[in-house]
Symmetry: C2
Subunit: 197 residues, 2 copies
């Protein structure tokens, strides 16, 4: 049985609801020339925010998701992150992928107040991952790209066996799982969580 | 590390989509005096079926689920089994419970072609469970009410730590998980599954 360790920083596990990341060019296409995203709510990772702006996603069966939140700041690629429950209801067959690995994923149509944007690819389910500072990585004895386990306690106790490690001096220790995963394990504010090497 | 064992019967893991079980009286209230459910599709467990009939569930925010499938045959109580994703979208705060343990769970309104039925309780999220024959139980060395672990392989590998054992001579070896759990682990026809004592 792998030995459980305690992190020097408190472990935070957060559920990422469906959202998208957009390039500055995509924001201009959807919201108008020169448009900049406006932060609505700051997220746990420094500098990351949920924007006031959202878009409408149009899927292959012409079903839509309204109010798909944009996370800022802008990136240099466009990516939509859905849970499988979302994807199935929309008619998408999406891969589980690490953020940025969108090659081969399906595309979609986005609609904003100033126009449409057709994406040839970019709709994925994000694999569970943990952001951590190099100090956390040293504590756990892991390196960027490793996998760890996340054990969730409580009445719906389960262990996620493949949690990707992402390390940066800008990161705070935080696991991201999606809504299917969060609902499956019944994650709440008092649910015991433990990262296992 | 617990020892993994192989069952004498092939292990089947199936996802239960949201559904309800109704009493004969409830069926008559919703569909008319003397009405009997008609099997549409036989399920893996002997004698169990998805009925041709479905109902509309009306939740606390007046949001509805149309075409909530009824599973037959009738039982002596009324129970609605939802995933957390369903419950959240409807505005329900539902407990994780073993089938039949509906005390304290929220109620709801059901609508059928012949009338409404207000249930004072009965909306739950069913805990993951495994149906098994006494021979399977002997093989695994478990008894009714025990918990086992279910390990799911593949790209979204995870282990469900609390799978309730239900034993009956009428049962075939089959694990039931809900749609959140099935989507979280990306369960497909070729996904490796293993019951662990």
């Amino acid at each position: 049985m792998p030995k459980a360790v305690r992190a020097p920083n408190p472990l935070v596990v957060n559920v990422s609801a469906r959202h998208c990341h957009l390039s500055p060019a995509a924001v201009e296409t959807l919201f108008g020339k020169g448009y900049k995203l406006r932060p609505m709510k700051w997220l746990y990772q420094n500098g990351q925010y949920a924007a006031q702006e959202s878009v409408t996603l149009i899927g292959p069966r012409s079903r839509v998701i309204s109010n798909l939140r944009i996370l800022g700041p802008c990136r240099d690629f466009n990516q939509i992150e859905l849970a499988y429950t979302d994807a199935i209801s929309l008619g998408f067959d999406i891969p589980v992928a690490l953020s940025g690995n969108i090659k081969g994923s399906p595309g979609c149509m986005l609609m904003g107040p100033a126009g449409f944007l057709e994406l040839p690819e970019g709709v994925i389910r994000a694999a569970p991952h943990v952001h951590m500072h190099p100090d956390d990585a040293q504590f756990y004895g892991v390196k960027n790209g490793d996998f760890m386990k996340l054990r969730i306690g409580g009445p719906c106790s389960m262990t996620f066996e493949k949690v990707l490690v992402r390390i940066s001096p800008d990161f705070k220790l935080e696991v991201h799982i999606d809504t299917d995963e969060g609902n499956a394990c019944g994650l709440g504010p008092d649910t015991p969580c433990e990262l296992i090497v």
